[in-house]
Symmetry: D3
């Protein structure tokens, strides 16, 4: 079910085992070829497909689209929430539902930069509500192996405005891809170094990482379906519940 | 233009006189007959109509839909940002664009509870950036007179899930109105008293205020068009600029 | 009763139906003719007159005089609390009394810029203490109709260092009016525009709005008495209690 | 000069060597015999006497009366600002004046519990504005030796609602002393221990410390005049300026 | 060099290419067999070894030992900083050095729970100081492959109070290992689920994860030396500088 | 007992009358002759000596070494926590232990600049946990009289990198004293003035105050032993408990 479209009486009648799904995205530069809303479009599309697959078991929120994107702000049009605003939004949304006895929450994230503050928001909530269930994951984590198979370029993981993301947008919103501007991009430190926090104006020429020129809608469909299938399985487990056993 | 659909290079090429439009809404109970997303749907629809009317002069952001709705939280499904989260989101979005020399910002608000924090966010920004232009208004302010004419019930202003809002949703998203559940609602203090801060579980029986049973799509269209026309005029002035003269 | 002058044992003996009255003002420029403390002087004077009229039913706090006045800071001598400081002061004062079972609170405000943060402070308190009573109003709201009658100039509402405020200070603290410096002032956008957040150095020449040259102590007395009478009636209702009934 | 009574143009014309004086007090229990506003009354009275003695060299603010009094909250009627609110108010007031080139600030404090947050507020300001002058002191620090001479009871320093404070209120606002309720009070740890943070409901029976039964208005006058004289000397030095030399 | 042992004049004389190393740890339960300070002991020992290897190129801070450990608080003795305190400490320490023109900062982390707030702290700093260099990594990231080789148990990565951590403490502070209490522990969700935020009282029986019974000091030495060697190489690159080139 | 070296099960078995000791220090300039870590070294050494003297009655935390040192930041290498970070660290550490029923907390402070925020942290905790015991003191408060006897120079109290602190470091970590750089330093306002907040670059030439050239290890030992003895007595009282009686 989509929370946005329900009335409060319909929400009040729901099974409290339902998994509250919170998509998180961004509005940030995605190179010369993809729209600023790429991450939000994809987190939303995946989450909506999950909701269609298991409507009685999922309560889908609208997408929290204002992401933690400070590392993209040098590129015009990128918007970024501060970490405290971002964490506050996630927590406020979830804590509004807890007094009504919703108890299972899962963030479907579309922007790498949100992973750390998503983790922090949920860890703070877990400390306050130790008996409730909180989870988060980038949607593409559930498509990792499939993506590695289907991608043609040397980069086998999902990067930024890359072969994978461009393929996904071609699948979901093809009219938004500037096909004449697709380009491969990405800079690396020389000599190599680990652990550095770089901004995207340092590690790209025009904002993207990876091999967008290799993108196709078919690849997008494969990755998309794989992410949805993985999430459906994961959230079905969360809906039905699980126990802990010795490893 | 819709910021979400642009690339960063397209944003970077824009005229800096463009008015950045930020719709703000809510996800909160709207009685037994309207969906939780009512305010966000309407702020978005009005803003998108404004953008269609003057695409070269407006840069439209996605809707900040997580409103300041603590007074509705007793009704299941309502979500509320804390004031600091809400103010932070408005400020963060706007401040992301200022280094890129955008200078005119206008919030089109769909939820009365956002008015105070919208004011505070913009007053803080104005103190920091005294030479930039910041404005905000509920969209229905621009339709006030028209609405008073067109509404049949005794309440001549826009309330909450009322004749006006129900009419507007009938116009914009008719499939979301639970027509069999339309009801009139609203309680008042006895004896009368001014200035009190009440929550909606105190001042309604099932969450709405006003005469939703009188709603029609035609009334909705009239109010909607009036709000759009007023906003277009106002933002056109903002785009072209104005001076101060003696009263 | 005036809280400042009581001992703790006297407070502890009070009827808990008493209305705690919190005057809020400012210390900010009021043109060349009125003192910086104008709003605080007036909120205090009105509140003290209310307390004299119903001493057993009101517990009057000293005036929170440090207002939210960022829009006046370009004028020397104006002081402004940040919104978080301002909201904190209102909430801290009120929350100090709640564990002692005081339960009815009303802010008598003298500065328009405080209205938004007063609203936010009380809405946050209401969310935390849903069974308590919180209200706020500008004192001149209770004199609106009377003021419209008595004012000679074209501005029929209360503005800033205007005919009304100058008249009120002439009534309450005449020695503080620089009668040789009274002036009419105020600028308006051309072409007209709605909803903009302007600072007072933009919309005035020397800090005031309205027709102070028309001020008289008699007008001040009429407005003052009207505000006091309205507040006394309102707080009497709050003291005795009220219920909710269908509209 | 009293800032509250000036216009902005008069402030703008001031010598910037003027010392901005900020009185800080409290509204907190002072035993069965003194009013809740004792600390604010005394800080205000001392500061006003200082201002009368050197009106051209002092710019006196109204008293920040909402003190840091959490340790008194168990006694009805006591109000306390949180530390962040308190520090915010001090800093906001001072920082409003800095852009207008005022540069010398001195807090005249009447409540021991404010000393720590006053120190923190000024240390934060000093870090931001290293070339400006900031100082703070309890007013009675300037009367310490005189008070030790004039007090009859075994407690030779100023405590809380004690011989000294009761004498001072008898001098300044005699009608506010409940002379029939004057009492000696105060508990001490047994065995003795240093450094503990106790609340006043632990270390008193009815809220006061010391020998209020020995208070007289004459003692109050001596202490008061001594504090004023010391402050006048100190602020005169601050007005004229000082250098640093080897010890 | 160790910052703690230098004088300010010696610091002032340093080459500003020096890498400021900030070890971060925790004080949290590590099962029945390892001390609460395990993570801090190891981050400190590794960092000190790095400093000994390249003393002229590293400026080593004392360990920020109060980690983000809310997920361990159910076990007595665990201490946890809130995220805002933790992030504040990292940022405050670094920002104290920036005005003195230090420009390269690297956090050597010993506690998984610090990774997210370390990332956030550095991303906030990077946004403010885009031209400076900030990096962070768990020390054991540099020993990952070596550890996988040397560990005998089924868990090939470093967990919590596991074969690897127990071996490391046996190498560095053998007297602190309760060898008679070494145990294997760790629970997993059944059915499996990804992305959940669990606390350690949910996923262990007595606080540890992995196969501590297999720990030996020799394994500890191998892992330790590998981590140090990797960090030395990485920080040498940071000291000498690097450029960006096409991938 | 040292918390760092215990396991959680050992902590869980402790007597809850144990006094939790939290040493607080700084890393800040101490003139040309003492190391930056002076305050932390001394607070730690004193606290460890106290723990050795009464191991069953004290639970010693590692030193919170990042102090509130903004007034030293002009000297290279000094680190300072903001007040909110500092207060947060003290409170977070203590509040981690309260759910496990530890109830007696005492801060042993080595840096004057921490006194105010230590007071604020404990006053906030006391307001939240009125039945628990919280105390704080500079360690040298317990040696005041002894130090006055043993010091040869004109300054009879402990200052900063002075005769006393230099003697203490000579006693505890003699290898860290730059004996060839010992110097006397310290500037005073002329004419004298009280209550000003000065930074150390204003009131010293090279960072120290007092007569370090007179320091000897023997003086250090006498002061050190006196501080330890006083603290042991004080904390023994806290361990066994105390009552309140009439003064």
């Amino acid at each position: 079910m989509k929370l946005a479209e329900l009335t409060w009486q319909e929400v009040d009648a729901l099974d409290r085992n339902v998994v509250v799904v919170i998509p998180t995205g961004s509005l940030e530069q995605h190179g010369p070829h993809l729209p600023l809303f790429t991450d939000s479009i994809l987190a939303t599309a995946v989450s909506e497909a999950v909701e269609r697959a298991m409507p009685e078991q999922v309560l889908l929120l609208p997408t929290l689209w204002l992401g933690a994107s400070a590392h993209h702000l040098k590129f015009a049009g990128s918007l970024s929430a501060s970490f405290s605003t971002y964490v506050g939004a996630v927590k406020d949304a979830i804590e509004s539902l807890i007094p009504h006895r919703f108890s299972k929450f899962f963030i479907v994230n579309g922007h790498g930069g949100n992973s750390e503050p998503n983790g922090i928001a949920l860890r703070e909530l877990k400390a306050t509500y130790p008996n409730l269930k909180f989870g988060h994951s980038n949607y593409y984590t559930f498509a990792d192996e499939t993506a590695a198979d289907v991608l043609s370029g040397p980069a086998k993981s999902i990067q930024h405005a890359c072969e994978a993301e461009a393929s996904l947008i071609m699948h979901v919103r093809p009219e938004l891809v500037r096909t004449n501007k697709l380009r491969d991009d990405g800079l690396v430190p020389d000599p190599p170094i680990r652990g550095m926090v770089h901004s995207f104006d340092e590690i790209t020429e025009e904002g993207s990482k990876g091999y967008a020129t290799l993108a196709t809608p078919d690849k997008g469909k494969v990755i998309f379906d794989s992410a949805v299938a993985g999430l459906v399985q994961n959230l079905t487990t969360l809906f039905h519940g699980y126990v802990f056993k010795s490893e």
